[in-house]
Amino acid sequence: MRFYSHILPNGLEVIAECSPSAFSTALGFFVRVGARDEPEDISGVSHFLEHMAFKGSGSRTADDINREFDEIGAVYNAMTSYDSTIYYAAVLPEYMEKAFELLACLIRPAIRPDDFELEKKVILEEIRMYLDQPPYGIDETCRRRFFKTHPLGQSVLGTVESISALTPEQMRMYYQQRYTARNIIVGTTGCVDFDKLVALAERYCGDLNSEENERIQLRPDPAFGTFRHHKPSATQQYVIQIAEAPPATSPERFAGRFLTAIVGSSTASRMYWEFLDPGRADSVSLTYESYEDAGIFVTFLSCAPEMLEENLERLRKLYNQLETEGVSAEELSRVKNKMAASLVLAAERPSSRLFAIGSERLTTGEYRSVEEELKIIDSITLDDVNRVAEKYPLSCNATEIIGPMPQGSS
């Protein structure tokens, strides 16, 4: 696999990790825009805008876009998170040009008023869909409380009120500010002809606005404490905990990933033995999310209501023990084997490498080959992991609980 990068005069960067023998090509437009960039009164606009991208541009209608993607057999979609919006497609190599043209069309949406009103209904359905599913929105309320005024506490979906009030003009203005060439990275993996890719980027993206538009970055000043919500119709009890973690720009982020895997991966982790093996919970996990200026560890637990208090106590003990005693050499070595294997196995599919290299480039500006990633995995020491466990105590967190157990806060 070889890596290439080229920056257009307007500031848009094109990167490729090429494996000429791959059967497919994966392409992604990684845009530095997400819920964190939204003024409060237009909450949810980044995600709504991502939907409007599929509604056409220039002479293309929504029907044209849907049809043309299907005509080339593309596996495609888009997603919006707190700090990025990604448009992607996986295709057979002979369709790379067409796929590029379509993705480039997505990122300059017409935002026609009729389409806007129709798609608004779809977004409102999506909001309601998530509210009907566990954990019934407490993931977002927990973030908001933890991050307080920090923009990473803002909602991706927005609310029924903010989406209902949104106008096409507000969305267009937001688009003009955020979808600038410097905020976009075009990433590709698999069977890619890089010269051809650069020519495509020049042709379809060369005229994008090159304005600088810095994102507001802040040190988080988190809030902690526990809140409980009552939902009598739910069967299980759901717990979210958010604690501080290293930001994406910190060298500690690698150790953060190890800590997460040792504590909360799906088999043979500490959480597995404490909760899943004994049948104390139906689901438990620890994940690590990192951004330019902040990072969080997110704990998720779901269990029978009568097990809740006991499980919260077990979780607290598990985290306290981690902070005082650290992890063991055997745990670290096992997780190293597991992470190295997962990395190598996932690298066989261009579509899975695409998200790894594109998101890293967008957030930190870095690129690491599979070999370099393996070297980092190899180099992490017990001290590295235990320092992170001590510096970012998981027991110090914002907690939200929802389910049939009565309300109250502590």
Partner: protein
């Protein structure tokens, strides 16, 4: 348990997608669905660039050992990995009526230590070897799937052989395993879409194929340790078991190793329980939710039917992409929903199409009406552009599968179970190429979607037009 974490994880990890077939969601669903329920037909080779190595029948291997165990192989030398799938005929269709969930609980138990390893040693050894694996219970089989670097197949096979031949079934682990399973059953009640699909399945497939694989809380509570032991004793048998290997491996070495590991295994697994139909075809399930969830099912032809690809193609026209009819009419033109889709479900000798949408209660009636209208309109035929798009999509998917050794291994097992052979990749490609509008339209005229099973879940019942029943 592995896959359940994935399912839940994405629920709070708020990356919101344009359409519902998000990569993670799909992965989680695939892990949960059964080997033979899974999307068939969307596979095989066919990249114009590499077709010669990909699609030669000589890259496929089949061997049946004297004890009845079948070993299937497909060489994919362009990969560095190897995918392994092991299926034993111990699926949920074999669960006794008052012990529904026995296959699922047995799966939990056989993974709690086997041969020389206790439960901790078993999981830790697999992690140390860097083997990514998961378990699934289908209606016919318990399936273990693993992906690993090619060099590790010879270390992984003996570990999984212990699970099939020498599970320890520790008595003291029965209660924790049962509690875990009961909690999973309870957690699914909080997922309206899962609950809806379960109610739909109950009414459009015959017993025992229509039961949820996990069983019910009461029947799981009734299972005793002896039930698990007897189930393993009867069903963990070579005649009816299949092992599939796909990716980079040496066939002769693998065959010799499997023979050595499994040659002392004997016996034949019993047949599933006799069929029985439930006759209730329309049902509303009251549920405290903002959205109403709508499920419509109709019969289709099974995987081994000569018209299978015609049925698959017509499903593609209905719901094969964002230009397909359901997405266009229900979401794009009317904005009625976020999710609308139709999927093919196959069991042996039988198949059904499940259509699903979730929408705000006030707009649910219109959604049901549009959904039924589009499904019924299929009998009027498809257009050639629609069919061409479906053909390209299927052929692309077949190439994507060539990048995943584990999913190819699972497909080999699906073929063997449903066809009694492995469909060569060239044959699959030819079947897709040979599809014509006339043939699809003739099929639809002769087999129009009808006799619907309709289940809704939400705050209010909907009007179901009598003429569609």
């Amino acid at each position: 348990m592995t896959h359940l974490i994935a399912t839940k994880l994405i629920l709070y990890y708020r990356i919101v997608c344009f359409k519902a077939t998000a990569f993670l969601l799909r992965m989680a669903q695939l892990a949960r669905e059964t080997a033979q329920d899974r999307f068939h037909g969307f596979r095989q080779a066919g990249s114009r660039k590499v077709a010669p190595v990909v699609s030669q029948p000589e890259s496929q291997f089949i061997h049946r050992f004297d004890n009845g165990l079948v070993l299937l192989g497909e060489s994919m030398p362009w990969l560095d990995s190897v995918g392994l799938a092991l299926a034993v005929p111990a699926g949920s269709a074999f669960d006794p009526e008052d012990r529904a969930g026995l296959a699922s609980l047995t799966t939990e138990m056989v993974l709690r230590g086997a041969g020389s390893r206790d439960s901790r040693q078993f999981l830790e050894d697999l992690e140390n070897l860097g083997i990514i694996w998961s378990e699934a219970v289908s209606r016919l089989h318990i399936v273990l799937t693993a992906t690993m670097r090619a060099s590790q197949l010879s270390e992984a096979l003996p570990i999984f052989a212990d699970v099939l031949l020498r599970p320890r079934l520790p008595r003291e682990e029965l209660e924790p395993a049962r509690q875990g399973l009961i909690q999973e059953i309870r957690a699914d009640r909080d997922l309206p879409e899962v609950k809806l699909r379960r109610e739909l399945r109950r009414r459009c497939f015959p017993y025992p194929w229509n039961r949820p694989t996990q069983g019910e809380e009461e029947t799981v509570a009734a299972i005793e340790w002896e039930d698990v032991r007897d189930f393993v004793d009867q069903h963990f048998r070579p005649d009816g078991s299949i092992i599939a290997v796909a990716g980079r491996f040496d066939w002769d070495e693998t065959k010799a190793l499997v023979e050595r590991l499994f040659r002392d295994w004997t016996g034949v697994a019993p047949s599933p329980l006799p069929w029985r139909w439930e006759r209730e075809r329309v049902k509303h399930v009251p549920y405290d939710s903002q959205q109403t969830h709508i499920g419509v099912a109709y019969k289709s032809v099974p995987y081994d039917h000569p018209d299978y690809f015609l049925a698959r193609a017509s499903l593609g026209v209905l719901s094969g992409g964002t230009s397909a009819r359901l997405f266009m009419e229900v979401r794009e033109k009317r904005g009625l929903c976020y999710t609308v889709q139709a999927t093919y479900h196959v069991i042996k000798n039988m198949a059904a199409v499940f259509c699903y949408s979730g929408t705000t209660a006030e707009r649910a009636q219109e959604t049901l009406d549009v959904l039924l209208g589009e499904i019924s309109r299929l009998k009027e035929g498809v257009q050639s552009e629609e069919l061409e798009r479906v053909k390209v999509q299927i052929k692309s998917s077949l190439v994507f599968e060539q990048e995943s050794s584990a999913s190819r291994a699972r497909s080999l097992i699906g073929d063997w179970v449903l066809l009694g052979r492995v469909r060569p990749v060239t044959e699959l490609k030819q079947s897709i190429d040979a599809l014509t509008v006339d043939a699809v339209n003739r099929f639809l005229a002769e087999n129009p979607p009808e006799d619907f099973t309709i289940v809704t879940l939400g705050p209010h019942a909907l009007e179901v037009p009598r003429e569609v029943l």
